[in-house]
Amino acid sequence: MFCIINLKICTMRKIIHTGLVLLVLSACGGKDSSKDVSVDTAQKTTEIDQIAENPLKDCFFGDLHLHTSLSPDANMIGATSLPEDSYKFAMGEEVTYMGQKIKRVAPLDFLAVTDHSEYLGVIAAIKDPNGPYAGTDRNKLYNSKDQKDVAKAYADFMVGVIANKPSPELNNEQVIKSSWQRIIEAASKYNKPGKFTTFVGYEWTSMPSDANKHSQNLHRCVIFKGENVPQKPFSSFDSNDPEDLWTYLENARKTGDDVIAVPHNGNLSNGLMFDTKTLSGKPLTKAYADRRMNNEPLTEIAQGKGQSETHPSLSGNDEFANYELVETLLSSTAKAKFQKGSYIRQAYGVGQELQEKLGSNPFKYGLEGGTDYHSGFSTTEESNYPGSHASQDNLAKDYATILAATGSIGGEPATKLSAAGLTGVWAERNTRDAIFNALKKKECFGTSGVRIKVRLFAGWDYANNLIKENDWVKKAYAGGVPMGSDLPIAANNKKPKFLVQAVKDPNSGNLDRIQIVKVSTKNGKSTEKIFDVVWGGNRKLNAKGKLASVGNTVNSKEASYTNTIGAATLSGYWEDTEFDPQAYVTYYARVLEIPTPRWSTYLAAKHNVPLSKTVPAFIQERAWTSPVWYTPAK
């Protein structure tokens, strides 16, 4: 008790201290020093200006979705990392995670730490022996190692999260604001223009459950272009309706830096993510569609908790649809009931149907990928995956139980978590401006965690051998549009032509094939079709237009494979001979790797324990480009 009183004084001193710093800072805003600041900014701007630009763009890889111990759930399950650690790891430094030294084989080029805004930093503060909760019962409970107490503490904070009604004692504004500052400062410290880019961001964690008593995921990661951001993140406690989030983003843009939101895990939304009505039950309008696309140009196609491209029940003709499916709704054991409205491929069709009626497409999403890991570390390398949810899948310690698939994260066994995904961006250089602009223009793609470099261009006049020329990229930009763009209207019955190139991840398997997925809509009816465009090896399309499987070199006992099948580079040309100028069309490319061992297979081989029976021993990693769209002339 002695401690409590004094601790409070101690905290007060900290607050006073911060206050003083703020005072000093604001005092610096005087005439003389403001000159210094502008000189400083000018100097920085010149430094950034000096970073070389490649007008034909380079490919950069990063993660726009990652949690540290500032996220309450991550903290509860034992994550101890802070944003600083996340950036260090992404840049290639070795860090300690769950007592193990971990290091990426290939570092990332950019990263946004996106902690949950609800109770941001509060669990960390509750546990802090010097924090505002020191000496309280919560401080004791949350620090307890007893599993019963851990469960109690988890329940204590989840009540408000699930009901979306924050507990006043946990919804500590002061802590949330200072945690937000901490995130901004870490991003500021590790942003190295030309080398490594950081973004200030957070996750808005809306998961309405009124309708069916189970959480339906409508989460969005919010990514700011710069550091001129609102004082506080907008949380789902403020509102769980995305339209209110957009208002916050619109206001943030007016007073500060540009910002986008990226919805993710449609697969866990139970049909809500790409619903044909608003969350409040109103029919979609043109204004809604425009607003949605203005605020959220991208959606996350793959991450630790599965892919949201499509589901076998929606895409019966797609033999690759049954890939890394996760269907158990968050914080429940209930499986998602509705596939429609949950996966982007089907949403592309629905979006076009709405566009026919409304004049605007609410689901004209570009694609990206992220991890959503709650460890603080973007560990997307299959052969180098240490687990991603702290105590819940501690692969250093609990590998045998985890492979036997008894443990559970959000209702699914930990083996079902994927070592995925990443965002690839085509940008002139590695700076905040260039990468953010590329994201906004949708000149980016998502991968299942590998670093496949894929280009997609569409135009009306590309020659079929252009892609073989050395300067094909230059000509492709000049004569058409890259991924994420609209095909302009063509004259006189031309067919659209596509150029695709994929270069393998040099640390992963060869490439199997590049496909173009076409989703076409006319008179309120949508169809999807997949075309194999270019592939490795001497395979031929069969009579039905199907390409034989690439084969499989995976030795699951040894967790090995060989690159004797597939190809290192695939370059292809494709013309849509079935093109109907009266139909709305979304085209995107999908690149498949040859089968390689899944992380669970590497783990089993490493410890000489049986393979998991819950998941396949191998996977076909992949990349999905942002689409090119075609809109018929009126």
Partner: protein, 285 residues
């Protein structure tokens, strides 16, 4: 009689008794006064304000009248048990209290003095004296010819590379790339650190090779994540020091960290000087 009395009082023993008695009375009076004070708990206006402020800091709103009464009662209860605990000497030899007090003191002591903003000269001096902090990884600048294994085999691709190497042995780097296959990325790489190579070519033999193979001549073939390569290494950047002008900000932040650490050490040393440390555990017997 008076003399007797006088003598009586002039006896040193008697004086001692009397003085002792007076002293006893005084001490026990003081003790009682202290005890009485020790049993007083005064909840001042300042204290209540502090309680309200703490509540507001933690919860974000002001406490209601009922909540405040409860908080004050808590405070009183806490103060009583605190004093009783101290009476019983519970604060002595308690590891947690010891550590807490030490932490609290450290917190109050750390980063007390303001660090003077360094000028250009300070920074340059610091930079020159701590060059190791600002060194860069060793790098390599090279060109390569690529031999793809696509639609072929690794062995055949390697054979082709060996054949081309023979022709290139006495050549410079100009136009060599055309002797191999088309490479989808770059042919010439500048200042690549090992970590860049792992990103661009995979964690494969080519990474080590580029740091070992002879300079200014074609060598290989060596495997990357894409296939086989012949490489011409034009230079290697040693573990050079990054020019000051490029990393001013880093120098400044290292300078501030180092200045703070130094200041904290000075403060501690000054304090430690007051104490005589007897390391009796070192005595051999």
């Amino acid at each position: 009689m008076t003399i007797k009395i006088k003598r009586f009082f002039s006896e040193p023993f008697i004086q001692f008794i009397i003085l002792g008695g007076l002293l006893f009375l005084f001490v026990s009076y003081m003790q009682q006064k202290k005890d009485n004070e020790a049993l007083n708990i005064n909840v001042s206006k300042e204290q209540v304000n502090q309680i309200i402020l703490n509540y507001k800091t933690q919860i974000g709103s002001l406490p209601s009248k009922r909540e405040l009464d409860a908080l004050i009662d808590d405070y009183i209860k806490e103060e009583i048990s605190y004093r009783e605990a101290k009476k019983l000497g519970l604060d002595h030899d308690d590891e947690i209290i010891r550590r807490r007090l030490s932490q609290k003191f450290d917190f109050l002591q750390t980063d007390l003095g303001e660090i003077k903003q360094p000028n250009e000269e300070d920074l340059l001096l610091f930079y020159n004296n701590h060059k190791k902090l600002f060194s860069k990884d060793s790098t390599v600048t090279f060109s390569h010819v690529y031999f793809s294994t696509d639609n072929s085999t690794a062995a055949l691709a390697k054979e082709r590379a060996v054949a081309v190497l023979k022709k290139l042995q006495n050549h410079n780097i100009a136009n060599a790339r055309e002797k191999g296959d088309s490479f989808p990325l770059q042919y010439d790489y500048v200042d690549q650190a090992a970590v860049d190579l792992q990103q661009n070519f995979g964690n494969k033999p080519i990474v080590d090779f580029l740091f070992k193979a002879p300079l200014k001549k074609w060598s290989g073939p060596v495997a990357s994540g894409y296939g086989w390569h012949l490489v011409f290494i034009s230079s290697r950047g040693s573990t050079g020091i990054i020019p000051y002008s490029l990393i001013k900000e880093e120098v400044k932040s290292s300078y501030m960290d180092s200045a703070k650490a130094a200041q904290n050490k000075v403060a501690y040393d000054k304090l430690a000087k007051k104490y005589l440390i007897n390391r009796s555990y070192l005595n051999s017997k």
